[in-house]
Amino acid sequence: MKTTFLRWGMLSLLALAPLALRAEPVLIVHKGLEGQALDAATVKSALLGKKVAWDNGTRVTIGALKSGPVADGALKAAVDQTASQFLNHWRRLAMTGGGIAPKSFDSEAEVLKFVAETPGAIGFVDSATADASVVVVKPGS
């Protein structure tokens, strides 16, 4: 009962978020990547599969939202692509052995969970969703 309530609440929050909070997508990374230099170019390379491993040796793994304004906005900013274009890019790349394919999810929570649990993982969620289980990388930092 409680979880149901919470879920509904979160959903309503999510639904209202763009209107109420002027939310913005943020890049989240696995905690193990804290201290890595994650500038825009590096992030772009990692997202487009050109960079397959971080400087500390862990493999780049992407947790991606399948669709939605958060994904679109974040990817637009980071690699100048929509979520669909991004996934197509990765489909062609992954299916030809060109890198480790991103894991795609339907919800930001799943993305958050995936990033929190997978070493070397990065992903985008709404700033409101991000929590302490991951490292939030501010755009431009």
């Binding site: 991606a64 399948k66 669909s84 274009q85 996934l87 197509n88 990765w90 489909r91 062609r92 992954a94 299916m95 030809t96 394919a101 991103p102 795609s104």
Partner: protein
């Protein structure tokens, strides 16, 4: 002819022999061709099976392989498509190729008969559908961006499914290929047989052709030689014809003259006949008159005969009465005898009486004289009567003879009458016969006129014949040219042409030169008389 060696070679016999040989080879060729035809028919049936079913099936199999490959390629391209539109297009193409492949499998079921083929095709269809399901699964995973799952399907299930399809396809292919190979082997065997037959036939035909060419060459040579000789003979014959034609012209002219002379003679004969007809008519008239006269003579003779009969009877009567008279005279003679005896008795009595009976003696003497005279007279009369009887006898006999003669005369007169009647009839017939003779003579006259005209025509015909002989000479020249001989033509030309001109210009005077030419031509003609038709 002075070519005894060519008599062996008779054209008809040669042609017959060649025809027989060719007929034998024709029969052989026919038999071989029939065998070849039968083989070709079976090959054709097999080839029809091959072309009608197996080859299209192979084509369909090729298409099937292509469409499955295309479907697979489309599925792979789906994986690599740039965007959603590309994915959609590839997915659609893959599905379409699968549908097409299913259609092709159905088509194959009609093209490849047999239970095994059906089972193989069923398996192939199932495999294809499995592949299509796997491809759809891959597409769904990719649409869902489940790259790992998609990768697994792509590397595992889809590849396996495609391999399975390929395997099934290969099995069907092998099956069809085996069928085709079996068919092809049988066809090949039949074709090898056909080739053998064709080679045999070809050899026979080549042999026959060579033989035919040789034969034609040989016959041509022989015929040319014979034609050459024939042409020479023809040229001599044509010159002889020209000569004969000239002679014929003369004869025709003579015939015309003779015919006109004959016509004149017939005119004369006709006139004589006219006269003869007149005479015959006179004859007939006379005969008719003679017939009348003879008839009258017969009647007169008949009358005379009747009179003669009367006379004979009268003679008989005379004889009878003379006999009567003779009896009477005998009586008178007896009376005279008795009277004589009485007178003698009286004289004796008177003598006895002396003187007194002297006067009586005188009377008795007188009576005795009278009696003697009576006896004499009676005797004379008897003699006369006997004479008369004898004469009348003779007269009767004569009259009988005369009667017989008259009867003869009557018979003769009858014969004469008949003969004269016959003569009259014959004369009549003769007259009509002569009339017919006249008509016949008229006909003869007409015929003679016609003969004269015909003779004229004959003369002109002879002239035509001469020109035809010239034409014949030309033809002989052409024949020589055709055969390739020059001697015959040179021989033919000068022989004819001058004669033709001479005949045309001086036809009446042509008799003597024509005769001379005939004399000259005679030995030649005997020499060039063809002995036989042998070559």
């Amino acid at each position: 002819m002075s070519h005894p060696h060519v008599h062996f070679w008779n054209l008809r016999r040669a042609v017959f022999g060649s025809a027989l040989g060719f007929a034998f080879f024709a029969v052989l060729t026919f038999v071989l061709a029939a065998g070849g035809y039968r083989l070709s028919r079976s090959s054709a049936a097999r080839t029809a099976d091959l072309t009608g079913h197996l080859l299209p099936a192979l084509g369909t199999l090729g298409q099937l392989g292509e469409s499955t490959l295309k479907s697979h390629t489309a599925s792979l391209q789906f994986v690599l498509a740039r965007d959603e539109d590309g994915m959609k297009a590839r997915a659609a193409e893959a599905a379409q190729q699968v549908r097409f492949a299913e259609e092709l499998i159905k088509r194959l079921e009609t093209q490849v008969p047999g239970a095994s083929a059906e089972a193989l095709l069923e398996a192939l269809l199932a495999s294809l559908r499995g592949y299509a399901g796997t491809a759809a699964k891959l597409q769904a995973l990719l649409r869902d961006s489940d790259f790992d799952g998609a990768m697994k399907v792509l590397d595992g299930d889809l590849a396996k499914a495609y391999q399975d399809v390929e395997k099934r396809l290969a099995a069907v292919n092998t099956h069809v290929a085996e069928l085709s190979v079996g068919n092809g082997r049988a066809t090949q065997e039949a074709l090898e047989q056909s080739v053998k037959i064709s080679v045999t036939l070809g050899s026979i035909i080549v042999g026959l052709s060579v033989t035919a060419v040789g034969l034609v060459f040989f016959v041509g040579r022989r015929v040319t030689i014979r034609f050459n000789r024939t042409a020479e003979e023809l040229s001599s014959v044509s010159s002889r014809i020209a000569t004969e034609a000239a002679g014929l012209d003369t004869s025709s002219t003579e015939l015309a003259t003779g015919a006109s002379r004959q016509a004149a003679s017939i005119e004369e004969t006709s006139a004589s006949l006219e006269e003869m007809a007149g005479m015959t008519a006179n004859n007939a008239d006379s005969a008719a008159k003679a017939r009348d006269l003879a008839a009258r003579a017969r009647e007169a003779a008949d009358a005379g005969s009747a009179d003669m009969e009367h006379m004979t009877r009268a003679m008989e009567d005379i004889r009878t009465s003379a006999t009567g008279i003779s009896a009477i005279i005998k009586t008178i003679d007896e009376i005279a005898f008795q009277t004589n005896i009485l007178a003698l008795n009286a004289a004796v009595e008177a003598a006895r009486a002396g003187e007194a009976g002297m006067g009586f003696a005188v009377v008795a003497e007188e009576v005795r004289n009278l009696a003697q005279r009576s006896a004499n007279a009676a005797r004379e009369t008897t003699g006369r009567i006997e004479d008369a009887v004898a004469k009348s006898q003779r007269g009767a006999e004569l009259s009988l003879k005369v009667a017989a003669g008259l009867a003869d005369v009557v018979a003769k007169a009858r014969e004469v009458d008949t003969l004269v009647t016959n003569i009259a009839g014959t004369a009549q017939e003769q007259a009509s016969g002569i009339n017919e003779l006249k008509r016949a003579m008229h006909e003869i006259n007409n015929v003679t006129q016609a003969t004269a005209v015909s003779a004229e025509h004959g003369a002109s015909g002879a002239r035509d014949l001469t020109s035809h002989a010239a034409l014949l000479a030309d033809s002989v020249g052409a024949l020589n040219a055709c055969v390739g001989s020059t001697t015959g033509r040179q021989a033919a030309q000068p022989l004819v042409t001058p004669q033709v001109t001479s005949i045309r210009t001086a036809a009446p005077q042509a008799t003597r030169p024509a005769a001379a030419a005939r004399k000259a031509a005679k030995p030649q003609s005997r020499a060039s008389q063809p002995a036989s038709i042998d070559f």
